[in-house]
């Protein structure tokens, strides 16, 4: 299922109708995916959604039951992994423990029968690029996690693959290291201009590192788009809630409003507006989502009446939990710490801009 806008431009990789079954489990429903050339695409989803299976199908480690994998227009579905000209970095880096760093990095070139002198020269070059000059004689166990990852990248990139595959590359690193590596990876990708597919379950990583995100759930792609698009205009409740916190409301369309629909919240006696290009269908019941940071707390009287249940200080921001009469679930509002915060028990008004409310495709 393809939805949302993709980047325009040449397509490096296409997955057409890929399905895969393991025993009784359907890991991939017929899947469609287009990966734009020269960009980083993140396959994002919870564990079990099929993202790693998809990556392995692209790599050639899994043969799909149906469908085709097209690399630069060429059908490679029947080709074994060693003939696809791809690069891959595994979650645990998989550096060959019995070979030195230089030998690891040179491996791909050795398989391509490059003469030794040229190999060595390119290895040295590559080690400089990943900022590990002179590390050629060390062994994997002598390196830190971050260094191992850089060697793994050097090893994958040295063969100038058409597409680079990354399987949860930052999972094993601690927080501080992770942020540094996120930027380094983007740097490398920009420098080589190489099409990259990144598999992750970490939404923050996907948002930070990728040019486009394909959100996956239960074996299919639920939405694709730029990080901004997927975050600000999620198509389904799943996407809205996976990419951050979302307040989801049930409502009935009452009519048109400037730029969208006027709705009445179910349960609460309150009116609101949503922005959407589609024509309104009065009487239709829908779900819509608003991000906590887009909600505003106003003095009582303006906006939807609500009471503050709790206020939690989170360092860089403040979380208010509001109870709206008639609604079962609490509403969360993120605000700047230091802004006038409303104490628990206070009566306030809840408001948002129409363009921050996104209708969801799920049935209410």
């Amino acid at each position: 299922m393809r939805a949302g806008s993709e980047m325009t431009g040449p397509v490096a990789l296409t997955l057409a109708g890929i399905s895969k079954r393991f025993g009784a489990t359907l890991a991939l429903r017929p899947l469609e995916l287009e990966v734009p050339a020269g960009r980083i695409l993140a396959l994002l989803g919870p564990s079990g959604c099929g993202k790693t299976t998809t990556l392995r199908v692209i790599a050639g480690f899994e043969v799909p039951d149906s469908g085709a994998v097209l690399l630069g227009g060429r059908d490679v579905t029947e080709l074994p992994p060693n003939r696809r000209g791809l690069g891959m970095v595994f979650q645990n880096y998989s550096l060959f423990p019995h070979m030195s760093v230089a030998e690891n990095v040179a491996f791909g070139l050795r398989m391509r029968r490059l003469p030794r002198a040229e190999r060595d020269a390119r290895v040295q070059e590559m080690l400089e690029v990943v900022r590990l000059p002179g590390y050629g004689d060390r062994y994997a166990h002598q390196l830190s996690g971050g260094q191992q990852q850089r060697v793994a990248l050097a090893r994958a990139l040295i063969t100038r693959p058409a597409v680079l595959l990354l399987d949860e590359p930052l999972g094993a690193l601690d927080k501080a290291l992770r942020e540094g590596m996120q930027f380094e990876l983007r740097e490398l990708q920009r420098r080589f201009g190489i099409t990259t597919i990144l598999v992750t379950h970490d939404q923050e990583e996907a948002l930070t590192m990728s040019d486009s995100i394909a959100v996956m759930s239960a074996g299919e792609v639920v939405q694709t788009g730029t990080p901004r698009e997927v975050y600000e205009r999620p198509r389904t409740r799943f996407v809205a809630e996976f990419l951050g916190t979302a307040n989801v409301f049930a409502a009935t369309v009452t009519g048109a409003a400037p730029g969208g629909w006027a709705v009445r919240l179910d349960g609460a006696d309150a009116a609101a507006a949503l922005a959407t290009p589609e024509p309104p269908q009065p009487g239709r019941r829908i779900l819509f989502a608003v991000r906590p940071e887009r909600l505003r707390i106003q003095p009582a009287g303006a906006g939807i009446p609500a009471t503050v249940r709790d206020a939690v200080f989170r360092g860089s921001y403040l979380v208010h939990e509001l109870a709206v009469p008639g609604l079962a679930a609490p509403v969360f509002v993120y605000g700047q710490a230091g802004a006038a915060d409303a104490p628990p028990g206070a009566a306030v008004g809840l408001a948002w801009r129409a363009e921050d409310a996104v209708p969801l495709a799920d049935p209410p």
Partner: protein, 267 residues
């Protein structure tokens, strides 16, 4: 860690283990010492020392011949066992499904069968096949026993290797044989040598299996020593046993040196 009051349980256990160590070492030490006796009979403690019983090994042809036969047999059967077991272990190492357990059990079965039964059965089977009572028959028998030892350790080491290592090699352009040559086999080598070590040591001492294949020309050391022992009970038995042990220790040290067996928990 601060040292507190000595732990009575640890001390008691330690004392027990000390006695245990004496128990384990006593017969071995006695034999080694007795081999240097100058007397004509076994006596312990020894009064005078001499190397004469070691010379006996060279003088008494059956000792020397059978020692050579045993060593050749041990290494040859380990090699054959390895050639057969390694591909099997690699094939089974990444296999899933109901076929794995029965096949593994089957390949490990020869060490669970009493060697007497197997030796006896093989004797008649091989003579029916006109293999004869010869080195060839011995080789077949010892190879059958060598296979499980090598299979077990190689399988264990291979299973512990992350599959992603071979996958990395593949995606870097290595074909099946290249993956095996550059990645799989080098990493599986400690298992191979541990298994072969076991096979060699077991073969050197395998009396029940070799017993049935003895002839004047081909006999293994344990069989020769056993029959010698039943007629003459003198220190040459101690001497030849000590030499056999020295060979085994040498094999162990060489293998350990080359392949760092200490890292293997698969033992």
């Amino acid at each position: 860690m601060r040292r507190r009051r000595p732990d009575p349980v640890a001390i008691a256990l330690g004392a027990f283990v000390l006695l245990f160590a004496v128990f384990i070492l006593a017969p071995i030490v006695i034999v080694v010492v007795a081999s240097f006796s100058a007397e004509n009979f076994i006596a312990f403690p020894i009064t005078r020392t001499s190397f004469r019983w070691y010379w006996r090994i060279v003088e008494y042809r059956p000792f020397l011949d059978s020692l050579i036969t045993s060593v050749e047999l041990a290494f040859a059967s380990a090699a054959i066992g390895a050639a057969i077991a390694v591909p099997a272990a690699l094939a089974l190492g990444r296999a899933r499904g109901p076929v794995v357990t029965p096949v593994t059990t089957f390949l490990l079965a020869p060490i669970s069968i009493p060697a007497v039964v197997l030796g006896f059965a093989l004797l008649y089977f091989l003579s029916a096949l006109a293999f004869g009572v010869s080195f060839r028959s011995l080789l077949v028998a010892h190879s059958v026993v060598a296979i499980p030892y090598v299979f077990r350790t190689v399988l264990s080491v291979y299973r512990a290797l992350p599959a992603s290592l071979e996958e990395s090699a593949a995606i870097l352009g290595a074909g099946r044989w290249q993956v095996l040559w550059f990645v799989t086999l080098p990493l599986v080598r400690p298992g191979l040598f541990a298994g072969c070590l076991f096979a060699v040591l077991i073969s050197l001492d395998n009396l029940p299996l070799s017993f049935f294949f003895g002839t004047a020309q081909t006999n293994t050391l344990p069989v020769v020593v056993l029959s010698y022992m039943q007629n003459q009970f003198d220190p040459s038995i101690a001497a030849i046993s000590t030499v056999q042990m020295a060979i085994a220790v040498a094999v162990l040290l060489v293998t350990e040196r080359m392949y760092g067996l200490r890292r293997l928990n698969a033992l």
